[in-house]
Subunit: 205 residues, 4 copies
DNA sequence: CATGAATGAGACTTCATTCAT
DNA sequence: TATGAATGAAGTCTCATTCAT
């Protein structure tokens, strides 16, 4: 393979032991991140949690940022997988279907509330890009589902609709998980269903 | 008793020079925050930017956190004032009115894009509270406007509707400012208008 | 009067207000010293407790050391006065008399336990001299009393006896106040009486 | 769990280089302490004297206090060893034996006069405990010796006698070393011998 | 490959002291 | 005289990173 990236990884782990070490480092990074946030995620702490010397981190990563980048990337991938699974079977229209999808999404977020909290609150400048990347992949997913549902898009700007829906649902659900507001789970789902359903009907109804 | 130490502010600035110094510190804090983010907002840097010695910060603030808290508080208040002005004249119903309000909100956010970026991306654990407080004040504002518009709420859960609307509009507009996505300004406003209008109509139509 | 000491006091307080200010500063110094120890006795804190600006301290004292020196000097004088009073009526011989004196001394120390504790434990290098001065004055007092009691000293080295007695009684009583050991007050007084009485009898008996 | 932090010592020095560094730090701590007292014993100064970076101190000690604690502990142990050696062969009664013991003790203190001076004069609040602990160990030693000498204690309160003797001898000898008073060495030893001998005779004679 | 001791810049904070008002 | 705002050196401690072993 060509195109090695010297900044992203000093040594491509070809041997099994190496791969295992990288794994331990990333797992440790995730633990530390969840327990102490970005501020508390020091290299020494990650190394200690991984059971390796601080020097070993630099065998596999050029600097601290690269470690956390990779940790966040993985965490976001996990979350994305969970969320994607929640939407398996296509995005059907109709309020009942919409509500079902939203429930599944909410469950996925609640199951990873700690992670969601860390990613939403702490993230330093350098790690920010990941989240947008994540949302964009979901955008594409949703746009595809909308097109599958309504093959004749007419003059509806499908990409814009998908973008809007994803931002809306993402933030409303995350806010609900983080804020624990006075709005109950069912009430929130009712309203969000109405919001999304109303929008879709307006666009395609 | 000897040596009492107030927590919020060491010395209430009664004299003119004091007030000016506090002002310079907070302005410097805002500059540094916008230019280098929370990570780069060190006390030494803020002091240097304010043209005062590092010790002077502690004449007026008990610690770094208090400085940044106050900087963020002011910035959020600014933003809130802008946004509130954008909604002067009540929240009228109807797509045209909705769209007008959204445009005004968007303009307010665009005018402070850097600030919005820092507040959305960087904020360390300790400074977090302000944002939720901010959103909650807007919640109340919007709930009031909705009730004024529709005195007979029927069985519509006005608080939940307001909460939902605020989260939705906040995040969609902020995301648009931060992500600069492929969705144009007009398209975004069209869609957001449709989203909000459809929701309101569904609830009260 | 000649022989002014420029280091000890910048301005001899001739006016009443000045004297009152010095008084307030020294009182405040004593309070702060008792409440926070030498480590916590900062100029700012003393000034605040005295109700004057930090700059005013330097109208009357050349530096912090001079303030604490004077505070300690006064405190030691107080203590010395108490102790001297405890010995009024001459130092009589005989166990009963000895024990009576010791009780009086112990009461004086107990009454100022906080002060004794601070002076015994914290004192920075620069303030140390005072204590020796204090003890030396007591030495002379005791030597005088011994001579009055036994005019024919013979070849007894009265000064050495006084020196020894003062060190012994001082430290035993102070240790008892500070350590709160398992030895009760009466037992301690019994033993100290035996110690001192035995010594005196051996020297003059 | 992630990131445990032992309090007493961050890293147990298993390797030789580590042990050597700890040794250098403690030696440097002792030097700085003797030369500049507790006030001047800053971490930077200790690190410089040890020829290590300031950060290295914190590889082995959790904070400054722990360093000085250990330095004092070692110094006190040294002193205790010297003193204990001075009393080898049991504490015999009789003026000659008493005087012999006292001479040995005095020599031990004179040999470490600088250390005695620092420990007696400077010690900040936080490092204080050691000294009392030290004295208490000597108490037990002396009480044991007294009992061995006089198996039939009768109604003599041996613990109180030991406590009194230790405080007396400790302070008289230390005062003599520190004050360098007009009392000569031989005179002081004579008087202290008389004091202790008279006391013992009175109690058991 | 791995270690972990060592580094040293830089973080936050305190405080004795000065000086314009 | 008195003030108190301002100073800035110095203090304690952290942490990303390096390098001899």
């Amino acid at each position: 393979m060509v195109g090695e990236e010297p900044r992203a990884m000093r040594r491509r782990p070809t041997q099994d032991r190496s791969r295992a070490t990288v794994e331990r480092i990333l797992d440790a990074g995730r633990s530390v991140l969840l327990e102490r946030g970005f501020e508390g995620a020091s290299t020494n702490r990650i190394a200690a949690a991984a059971g390796v010397g601080p020097g070993s981190l630099y065998q596999y990563f050029p600097d601290k940022e690269a470690i956390l980048d990779r940790v966040v990337e993985r965490a976001v991938d996990d979350l994305e997988a969970r969320i994607t699974r929640a939407f398996l079977g296509s995005l059907r229209a109709g309020d009942d279907a919409v509500r079902g999808h939203l429930e599944a999404l909410l469950d996925a977020l609640v199951a990873e509330a700690d992670l969601v909290r860390v990613l939403s609150q702490d993230r330093p400048r350098t790690v920010g890009r990941r989240r947008v990347g994540f949302a964009r992949r979901i955008d594409a997913l949703v746009a595809g589902a909308l097109l599958a549902e309504h093959p004749d898009a007419g003059d509806v700007p499908v990409d814009a609709v998908a973008w809007m829906l994803v931002r809306t649902v993402e933030h409303v659900t995350i806010s609900w998980v983080l804020e624990a507001p006075d709005v109950g789970r069912e009430a929130m789902l009712d309203e969000l269903t109405a919001l999304v359903g109303g929008y879709l009907r307006r666009r395609w109804g």
